[in-house]
């Protein structure tokens, strides 16, 4: 296995910018992109003419906004004629950008992500299903149904009953409460308000399901930008570059019901394992984690799939950590800061831009520039990790970042 291909010439992040997530009914998607880029470029002190290429992502902007080819409208807007590539997720764009930098093709590129979901609010859940898994859609599935089924499968497989079942339910509710708490300190977050466990439970009760409104990430608009450079160029632009130690992805069937594993994502397991291998790290080394909490359940499942907790046990660690929450989960005696930006639940989830917000958070945290929400730990925070999904675990991307190249 070519484990060491990222060990040399590691790309570095020199700047990151983003917009607030939420509803931006008065803004065109490209204005949001422009806003995120301006913040990032200002930080890096570069001009758009310095860019050698753009790697941009959106999940379904063509469908929701009917703007024509994204490359075209961005080129027109920016008067840039550099190569541009579009992918569905920020992480895909990021991965491609890493490859390009490492190959020596470019030294400075922009990775951007945007989504404008609220423009098509009335049809968005049908769109999400039709794009996510058509056969589940034809059979009556909803974006929420798979989460519910996974939770039922989990409870059955690990025989979680009685008090334990109550604790699991509370642990999932605490995830949402915790993420909202984090978002209070995030000036870009969609929801900057405290919620209570009771509210989460009440929403589940009125939904008549195991997961309610407060368990799911919202529909959002927003844009994010990351400026990636070769180590040489990056070091000239900033004295605090953040290294990309690894970037890995894996895939699974489109249709969740047809998969062999129903209590987690094979794609996440493979991508996380590979990312750790490339970075030469183990989950024990990771202190910061931004996971893709489309639902509270997926935050819990991610801890298991990525190797932080044994399968079937993450809820215990979460439950215990949240009884008297100190800002992090305590897992096996170690501190793990999870979703410090509020996660998808409270920060927002504008699909194509979401991964950018996750990377933005780890970038800021590792540089010690996260302000009020800066992770506080007695040990030096050296490594951060990001998990982004496409579809319901159809694709998983895991990136590991470090303050220095080991």
């Amino acid at each position: 296995m070519r484990v060491h291909y990222l060990a040399s010439n590691r790309p570095v992040i020199v700047a990151a910018g983003r917009t607030c997530f939420g509803e931006h009914y008065d803004k065109q998607p490209e204005w949001l992109m422009e806003e995120a880029w301006l913040r990032a470029s200002e930080e890096a002190c570069i001009e758009r003419k310095d860019l050698e290429a753009c790697f941009i992502s959106d999940y379904f902007l063509l469908l929701t906004n009917k703007l024509g080819l994204e490359e075209g409208f961005l080129s027109e807007l920016t008067e840039l004629h550099v190569p541009m590539d579009f992918t569905r997720s920020f992480s895909s764009a990021f991965s491609n950008a890493c490859n390009a930098i490492q190959s020596g093709k470019y030294d400075l590129v922009l990775i951007g992500g945007m989504e404008k979901m609220t423009d098509r609010l009335a049809k968005i859940r049908d769109d999400l299903m039709a794009l996510g898994d058509p056969w589940s859609y034809y059979a009556g599935g909803t974006p929420e149904a798979n989460h519910e089924l996974m939770l039922r499968a989990y409870v059955k497989k690990y025989r979680i009953e009685g008090d334990d079942f109550e604790k699991l339910n509370l642990a999932l509710a605490q995830i949402s409460v915790k993420n909202h708490l984090h978002a209070l300190k995030n000036e870009y977050a969609q929801f900057r308000r405290k919620i209570t466990v009771e509210q989460v439970l009440e929403a589940r009760k009125s939904a008549k399901r195991l997961l309610g409104m407060y368990d799911f990430a919202p529909i959002s608009d927003g844009a994010t930008a990351v400026i990636l450079a070769s180590e040489e160029v990056g070091k000239k632009l900033t004295d605090k570059p953040i290294y990309v130690l690894s970037s890995a992805s894996a895939t699974d069937y489109l249709s969740y019901p047809a998969r062999s594993e129903l209590t987690g994502f094979i794609s996440v397991r493979l991508a996380a394992k590979r990312a750790m291998e490339i970075a030469g790290l183990s989950p024990m080394d990771i202190q910061l984690l931004e996971v893709y909490d489309q639902s509270t359940l997926l935050e819990m499942i991610a801890l298991e799939d990525m190797g932080f907790c044994e399968h079937g046990t993450a809820w215990k660690a979460i439950y215990d950590s949240c009884l008297n929450y100190k800002g992090y989960y305590e897992i096996n005696g170690r501190k793990l800061f999870v979703n410090l930006n509020g996660g998808l639940k409270a920060d927002g989830n504008p699909l194509g831009a979401t991964g950018g917000a996750q990377i933005f958070e780890v970038f800021k945290q590792l540089r010690g520039e996260a302000g009020e929400r800066q992770a506080k730990s007695d040990e030096e925070i050296r490594y951060g990790c990001v998990l982004e999904l496409e579809g319901f675990g159809t694709k998983a991307h895991v990136h590991i970042f470090g303050r220095e190249s080991p």
């Binding site: 049809k123 898994d133 056969w135 589940s136 059979a139 039922r152 249709s255 019901p257």
Partner: protein, 501 residues
């Protein structure tokens, strides 16, 4: 706007639940895969066609969907989950249908693990001008109204001189409305004349044991086809795989017929003639009468029908092997009598009421019955069962008495009070009820009536084989009439379900 190619592909796969099995490793797919993902190149040409249409599945996991996507909004709330077939070798998403979920608490863990049967239904709502999407990823519990029944193809035992019925099936939904002591069948929201026709045909195949690929022609009579142009029969042929399939095309002739409530019975004689014509080489022909009987709401013009309409489909397979009832003779009569009509583009039929009784129903039934009995030299006492068209109770009773029939002759076939007027399926339903109970060598006189107007009279003589095939069908008329899983709905729900998606 529908995409015809996408619709065709989804329906082709999803209506029949087609799949393939790798002959090397045994892995199964709900998809027409040319190769197995595990075995790769060496599996090309080694994938066997399978389908789950007649199979029993298991509901592995389920949850409540009470905030559906837009296209499912008219369903309200429903149970949705993962269904497995063949001991978990294949898993598919599925919606549990035939459930009206109000406020009751549902114990999902009690539903998980239960056996389910795929049902052919409408998929979801679309625009009025779109292709009607269908799918069989709708399921009901095997221990409820609709039992799982295997479809076993039997080698014919006996050849007959006279062609006749070799199998039949009556299908109606589990929902009823009860008014003034009369029960009428109500479709679930995802049912219509198309789905009823397919379900009835499926039951007839199961009962007959006939090889589906030997059916050379299928006729579907209906006056509630949701399409003005596009046959129900093509859907039936494709889903039931009638005739030999070659490159996605079924080697069968399929045609829809329309003549109000006699659209199906009219074709019995054509089916009989076809299977009896030696040069045709057609062994079996299927005739289906299916209707989601239409009526305007009761406070609107034409609304008086709203007290009588039912829902259901009835399918008959005609042939010359293992016949259960020989067709002894027939007589049809026709006149241009405008007693009931529906103009193109109008949702509901009209009838002035002037002609309904005497010059229409009674005149034609009387004529056809008398002429046939005359032709065959039959007395009333030569006939064991009399089955007239049944748009209500008084009409069939009146004509039966007038012709001299006694209660024991006409009551077994009188099913209006349990299912309502199933239009094209009405007298065929009465015939099915009689065939369910008839002994060998009994004579049945069926007289249909179609507004517009005309009647078809048929004489059937049961054979000894009627008894040996009886066990093959659990979904008898009586089973459906007296089923403990029947759900009764109020008037508002009845209208909502009837109007459908």
């Amino acid at each position: 706007m529908s995409s015809e190619p996408i619709e065709r592909r989804i329906s082709y796969l999803g209506d029949r639940l087609r799949g393939r099995r790798c002959l090397i490793c045994g892995k199964e797919y709900f998809d027409l895969r040319d190769y197995c993902g595990n075995c790769g190149r060496k599996s090309f040409g080694k994938m066997a066609d399978i389908d789950f249409f007649f199979e029993k599945g298991k509901l592995e996991l389920c949850t409540l969907v009470n905030e559906p996507t837009n296209k499912f909004r008219k369903f309200g709330s429903y149970v949705y989950g993962i269904v497995s077939f063949h001991d978990g070798r294949v898993r598919v998403p599925g919606r549990i249908t035939d459930m009206l979920i109000e406020d009751e608490e549902i114990d999902y863990s009690a539903l998980e693990g239960k056996e389910v049967v795929p049902r052919f239904r409408r998929r979801y709502s679309v625009g009025k001008s779109d292709i009607i999407p269908t799918i069989s990823l709708a399921f009901t519990f095997a221990d409820e109204y609709y039992p799982h029944q295997e479809y076993v193809i039997l080698k014919p035992k006996k050849e007959y001189e006279t062609p006749g019925i070799v199998g039949y099936g009556f299908y109606t939904s589990r929902f009823r409305i009860k008014e003034d002591g009369l029960e009428r069948a109500v479709p679930f929201i995802d049912e219509d004349a198309i789905t009823a026709a397919v379900e009835a045909g499926k039951l007839a195949l199961i009962h007959s044991g006939v090889d589906h690929s030997l059916i050379g022609k299928v006729y579907v009579g209906s006056e509630s086809n949701p399409y003005a142009v596009k046959p129900i029969a093509s859907k039936v042929a494709q889903v039931l795989m009638l005739g030999e399939e070659d490159e996605g095309v079924q080697g069968v002739d399929a045609i829809d017929t329309e003549f109000a409530c006699k659209a199906a019975t009219s074709m019995f004689k054509d089916a009989v003639a076809l299977v009896n014509y030696p040069k045709m080489g057609i062994q079996y022909a299927m005739v289906i009468g299916a209707d989601n009987s239409q009526a305007a709401p009761r406070d609107c013009p034409g609304g008086e029908l709203d007290f009588f309409v039912g829902f259901g489909g009835c399918a008959y397979i005609f042939g010359k092997t293992d016949v259960i009832a020989e067709v002894e003779g027939w007589f049809s009569c026709t006149s241009d009598t405008p007693d009931f009509w529906r103009r193109d583009g109008e949702p509901y039929p009209m009838h002035g009421g002037r002609f309904t009784g005497d010059p229409a129903y009674f005149k034609h039934i009387r004529k056809a019955a008398k002429k046939l009995m005359e032709k065959m030299n039959l007395k009333v006492s030569d006939i064991n069962y009399f089955v007239p068209h049944q748009p209500n109770i008084p009409f069939p009773v009146k004509i039966a008495r007038e012709l001299g029939f006694k209660e024991e002759q006409y009551l077994p076939g009188l099913q209006f009070g349990r299912f309502g007027n199933t239009y094209s399926g009405s007298s065929p339903l009465g015939l099915a009820a009689v065939l369910d109970i008839a002994k060998p060598y009994e004579r049945i006189l069926l007289v249909s009536y179609g507004s517009g107007a005309g009647s078809d009279a048929y004489c059937f003589m049961t054979t000894s084989q009627i008894l040996e095939k009886r066990d093959r069908q659990k979904m008898t008329v009586r089973y459906q009439a007296e089923n403990p899983h029947i759900k009764y709905v109020d008037y508002y729900t009845y209208r909502r379900l009837k109007i459908g998606l």
